[in-house]
Amino acid sequence: MDRKLTIQTYQARGLNLVVKELAAFFGGVAKNNFTIEFFTVLVPIMALWEALPRLGVVSPFLVPPPSVVAVTFWELLANHGYLGHIGISLQRFFLGLAVALAAAIPIGILMGWNLFLRRHTLPLFQMLAPIPPPAWVPITIILFGIGLPMQVFLVFLGAFYPVLFNTYQGVKDTEPRYIASARVFGASEFTLIKRVYLPNSLSSIVMGVKVGIALGLVMLVVAEMVGAHSGIGWLLVESKDFFRIDRMVVCMLTLGFIGWFLIEVMKYLETKLALWKVGR
């Protein structure tokens, strides 16, 4: 293997890998979700949703049928810059989530690893965590004003605690004999964290991130409802003021889709990272 690898070959390999991973991801999503069993449930529901307003059983004004929702979705995209709203919402959400992960995972690992640190920090987090994140909204608005920092902070608050506690639990519950067996071979504590605690607690960290994504989305909507002039949450409140139920449904479905998609991504990541669990 002394043939020189040029940048092009690396690029080609990278591209190949990306295409392969994407194909595997979407293939898996399609295979796991869009099964015949699921369609036997979905199709009647959609049919009912379409038929009931059209037949006048319920008011089509209050329950817009899917066809109307689809048209509204298209209209929002074309004339109202809906993609921009989605983009700005995602930006806020991912900033908040990134800060939450960057803070919660290391703190959780340290708390699970060391008794001294755990004794000092855990009670504080346990007392702060039960405060419902929406209760932070007023004080956040006063401290940060209305704008990106406030929205990011609220998303952060939603995602932080689930990730923190799940990481901490996963690290703390690491099988002691794995730790002991690495220690007798002279592993440093850093190696121990990297090679033993982390792989062992991976699934509970991913679990925490999934809950964090869900709560982060909740807080994104709350933040945008009370303190934003753009984004899906703001559009939702706007639609309420203009009594556009079809638009509200579009916003809700978009939020649902984002959450579902991100959780699918997490599932894929988990099987990718914890390959050793797949073979069972």
Binding site: F185, E189, L192
Partner: protein, 291 residues
Amino acid sequence: MIAARKITKFFSVINPQGMAEGSTAVLSVSLEIADGEFVAIVGPSGCGKSTFLEILAGLQAPTEGEVYIAGKRVLEPLPSTRREMESYQKKYRFLSPIVNSLFEDIPKFETAMIFQDYAIFPWMTALENVLFTLELRGVARQDRAYRAREYLAMVGLSGEENKYPSQLSGGMRQRVALARALSVEPKIILMDEPFAAVDAFSRHKLQEDLERIWQQTKKTIVFVTHDVDEAVLLSDRVVIFSPQPGTVRNIIDICLPRPRRYCRDRLRELKDRVMQIYQYDATGEGIEYVI
């Protein structure tokens, strides 16, 4: 050489009345093990032999007594007075005493330990498990793969390198654990009931392999087991622990030529002797030998 001097280990346990109570796991055990010796520690379950082994490995601090391995002290004993306790707590405020250094891997060339339930990492393949210890030992990256394969071949695992432990049988997992322990090139291997969870056929094979590897590599092996057959078959010396609290009940030298599978009668005789000591401890009768 391993020198254990008056090792005592004291636990507090909860008695049926729900009160805390003292329990002595190991009581004043002194034992010297020479280099290259194969020593088996046998005893009824719960007699503190595993605790003793963990003290030797430095995974638990003894309540009293000292362990020296090649002249170096393993772990200091736990404090016994209030004053000692305070200074101990102060000293180990941040990290517990069994913790290694924070960022630097310091391989322990003296000892390797094999646990009863394998304790190989389920998230690494057989090969990666061995690569991990080689990495801790500081073997150069390009040499690791072939060294790892070498050790896996030594325990008869060629061809299974890329399987995860969950895909391996119990006997194979124990072989991975053995390969991992050998890969550190330790002078001493401590084994805590290594073949207890393995079926009879694999155990037979593993025992033969262990004997062969021991003869090839000339390591010191301390082997904890509750299987008397295994102990008399493999070891140079059998150390018999009494039931709780664990003390050295007797030490039997076994001077039989290897391989020993063929001197059945002598093995049976030795086993009977050990069993009678057991029985005497349990019931106080049935002893024929003057010990």
